[in-house]
């Protein structure tokens, strides 16, 4: 029995090279600006914030995954938690801003950014970790059977979880490093910069000598910060395996529900107040009609929906196609990682420089291409980090199933949770993408991110809050259609 050779093994270098072209086009522009080193404080702050945020989200996600499994939390109670992630990051940022203002607290600056990131990305950590925790739960049961009690049981439980924790941590860290929306809402007004927002500020500085070069240099710093996460992309070790049924713990379920509701409240209450009440008179005065009187908002919603569906579908299809060829998958993902890590602004400018002379420019297809390049790494990673199904596939093949049928019948069904997690990760990112679309959208084909950013830049806080609530509503509808496993 011979396994098929990796797909296109000889074309791999070419494949890996192509997606990095837009960024390579920027490299010669950025290098001259690296020395003497500037902005080291922003480099440090960005790294610290991303690391801190990842650890917080990872810790909370792990606890929540444990509570959910112990408490037998059903899909219904997961909805408020997952909503936090389906809402675009800049909406979470606005929600934190308005909520903290209501409470009389300062929302701008590093603590606010950290809070918004934690609220927003903890559900992602939860989704990435839950299958892994489920795989490790039998260890807890085994420990109990052997009389190990209390915290000491963690010594049996945590070590096998470490590799998936690292992989999930890498995913989170990269998401935070590249995030633009939250620091744009909670940092920029007080001039607290992270690397992506500083690159954006440099790029749009009317007086900069070489805005493209200075922004590219910041992108190179970002790449440096991302390196450790690149090295963490080992596949998970735990095999998907059902735990023995255990009595659900009501306290676990209660704690889970409390966190889910509290985090959602912190994101949404401020938005509700801002969208529903006139800030000057305090009277009930919903801003929804004003928001949707803007043709841009309506068009933006439609265009983003279509673009995000297309991008998510194409990318997950590619990931499934490549999953049986782990080496090809990893090589391609490694090359595409760069596109995801670099601030979208750089990919955007790189694409303009590369493709502006072609007929692709000025059409929505350019933006679709940018989305594909930007998010491909996440799609591939989500299946790479998923449960290992090769054993099951191999078993199928031993019993005489052909290669693809073995994957279709045995491998892919086991990957469904990872696939869902991947789609859950990709769709909202593409739907509410701001940075790339701001630069690349074809006039007349605006995205919802562009519409929201315009509203925020233009001081239309109340309309932006209304739009944010509508996006949260769309997200909730999406969750209703979620398949159950």
């Amino acid at each position: 029995m011979t396994l098929p050779r990796p797909l296109f093994s000889w074309t791999l270098p070419a494949l890996a090279f192509l997606p990095t072209l837009p960024l390579l086009a920027l490299l010669p522009r950025g290098l001259p600006h690296l020395l003497p080193p500037r902005d080291l404080d922003v480099v440090l702050l960005t790294g610290t914030l991303a690391l801190g945020g990842s650890l917080l989200a990872l810790g909370l996600g792990l606890v929540l995954a444990y509570l959910a499994l112990r408490g037998g939390v059903g899909p219904l109670w997961e909805i408020p938690l997952l909503l936090n992630y389906l809402v675009p990051p800049f909406v979470t940022g606005m929600g934190v801003l308005f909520s903290l203002q209501t409470l009389g607290l300062e929302a701008y600056g590093a603590p606010g950014i950290l809070l918004a990131w934690t609220l927003h990305y903890t559900p992602l950590a939860y989704l990435l970790l839950k299958p892994q925790v489920e795989g490790a739960l039998p260890l807890l049961q085994a420990a109990r059977v052997h009389g190990v009690q209390g915290l000491r049981r963690l010594r049996a439980f945590l070590p096998p979880l470490l590799p998936p924790l690292l992989v999930a941590g890498g995913t989170l860290y990269l998401a935070l490093l590249g995030n633009f929306g939250v620091p744009a809402v909670l940092g920029l007004p007080e001039r607290v910069y992270t690397l992506p927002t500083l690159a954006y500020a440099r790029l749009t500085n009317p007086l900069a000598q070489d805005p493209l070069g200075e922004a590219a240099a910041l992108g190179l710093w970002l790449g440096l910060l991302a390196l450790p996460a690149l090295l963490l992309s080992r596949p998970a070790l735990l095999e998907a395996q059902a735990a023995l049924p255990d009595r659900p713990h009501p306290v676990s379920r209660l704690l889970f529900a409390l966190y889910a509701l509290a985090s959602l409240g912190l994101s949404l209450l401020g938005l509700l107040r801002e969208a529903l009440f006139n800030p000057y008179t305090g009277a009930l005065d919903p801003a929804f009609a004003q928001a949707f009187a803007q043709p841009l908002f309506r068009q933006g919603l439609l265009h983003s929906l279509l673009l995000a569906l297309l991008a998510t579908g194409l990318l997950l299809g590619l990931a499934l196609l490549l999953k049986p060829f782990p080496r090809t998958l990893k090589a391609l993902r490694g090359a595409l990682d760069l596109n995801y890590l670099m601030p979208g602004t750089l990919l955007g400018i790189g694409l303009i420089l590369l493709l502006a002379p072609t007929p692709l420019y000025g059409t929505p297809w350019l933006l679709l291409l940018a989305y594909l390049l930007n998010f491909a790494a996440l799609a591939l990673r989500s299946l790479e980090a998923g449960a290992r199904v090769e054993g099951a596939v191999l078993a199928g093949r031993v019993h005489g199933l052909p290669f693809w049928r073995s994957w279709l019948r045995l491998g892919y069904p086991l990957l469904l949770p990872s696939l869902f997690a991947g789609g859950f990760l990709l769709f909202p990112l593409a739907f509410a993408e701001v940075t790339l679309s701001a630069l690349l959208y074809a006039p007349g084909a605006e995205t919802v991110g562009v519409a929201a950013l315009s509203a925020l830049n233009g001081g239309l806080y109340r309309e932006a809050a209304a739009l944010g609530l509508v996006l949260a509503g769309v997200a909730a509808l999406g969750l209703l259609g979620r398949p159950r496993w």
Partner: protein, 312 residues
């Protein structure tokens, strides 16, 4: 999906029939109203808008020029220096002044670009926090206004760049240093500043007049003060680039902006129209003493950034 594909197909087809692509820093709601009015007059014509801050609009045009595929048929933003740069390279098209009665002083580019309405930088006051408003720029240095003042970031806002340049040119850079000692804060943009002013975070702001009037219309406790010694008139002209694929339509849109209907729309939205016979914005004085802005050069901006600890 069908609508999306249709928009793709239409987008290509409309290019031949009559599509106008406008790159602007104009406030979105305002430019939408104008575009709708123009499209209503000209069925079959489609106006596409790329709207962002002046800095980003200029960055996009620069990148497109470098790539050799510029898209905009019409330009409208607050960076006259960039327009001059384009004019020097022969990249602006002269538009014949075919609108009778247009005041020549607003065609500074000698027919290369035109003001279509007037935008002033003024003193905006939160009437709940400040009972006796300042009446001139120098009044801002009075002890009673200490810690109440803010302005937008000149690195982001073209209008704020005009404020810094004009105040430094008229009163010397020392005036800005005195404002810093008065505790002046820097906010990101005009709209954000106006929101914070309206909500009482500040007492006085150096900001655009029309934006304050729009907030007043929503019930904000604000007032516009045109300084006795001259509000700052910020140039935000409209220009027609030589690469425009539809210069005829672009010229028609410019003339529409100067038509009585568009001029009335400007006034309704709080701007002073540029044409002499047009109505004035609600609650605005009949006559304004204006000083044409000087944009800050990079040296002045660098000093300002160092003074206020702004990063660039």
């Amino acid at each position: 999906m069908r609508a999306f594909l249709a928009s793709l197909v239409l987008g290509a087809a409309a290019l031949a029939q009559g599509t106008l692509t406008l790159y602007t820093s104009e406030v979105l709601a305002d430019v939408n109203a104008l575009v709708e009015a123009f499209q209503a007059q000209r069925p079959g014509v489609r106006v596409q808008v790329f709207r962002s801050g002046t800095g980003e609009v200029v960055a996009k045009i620069r990148a497109e020029l470098e790539a050799g595929n510029p898209q905009a048929d019409l330009l409208w933003f607050a960076n006259e220096e960039f327009l001059k740069e384009l004019a020097q390279k022969g990249l602006l098209r002269r538009i014949p002044p075919t609108v009778p009665g247009y005041p020549v002083q607003y065609a500074q580019g000698g027919g290369l670009y035109y003001e279509v309405r007037l935008l002033y930088n003024v003193l905006a006051v939160n009437t709940q926090r400040v009972k006796t408003p300042p009446t001139s720029w120098r009044d801002l240095l009075k002890p009673e206004y200490r810690g109440l003042l803010a302005m937008p970031d000149p690195n982001f806002s073209g209008a704020a760049l005009a404020t810094v340049g004009t105040l430094a040119a008229r009163f010397g850079f020392g005036f800005l240093e005195s404002l810093e000692r008065q505790g002046m804060r820097i906010e990101q943009s005009n709209p954000v500043l106006q929101q914070k002013l309206a909500r009482g975070e500040y007492g006085i702001a150096i900001t655009t007049d029309f934006g304050v009037r729009q907030e007043v219309a929503k019930g904000a406790p604000l007032a516009v003060v045109y300084p006795r010694d001259g509000a700052i008139l910020v140039p935000t002209p409209v220009a027609l680039p030589s690469w425009s694929r539809n210069p005829e339509l672009a010229g028609q849109f410019l003339r529409f902006l100067l038509s009585p209907e568009a001029q009335r729309l400007f006034a309704e939205r709080g701007y002073y129209p540029v044409m002499p016979q047009s109505p004035k914005p609600k609650g605005a004085p009949e006559k304004v003493v204006g000083v044409r802005a000087t944009f800050a050069d990079s040296k002045t901006l660098e000093r300002f950034n160092a003074l206020f600890g702004l990063r660039r």
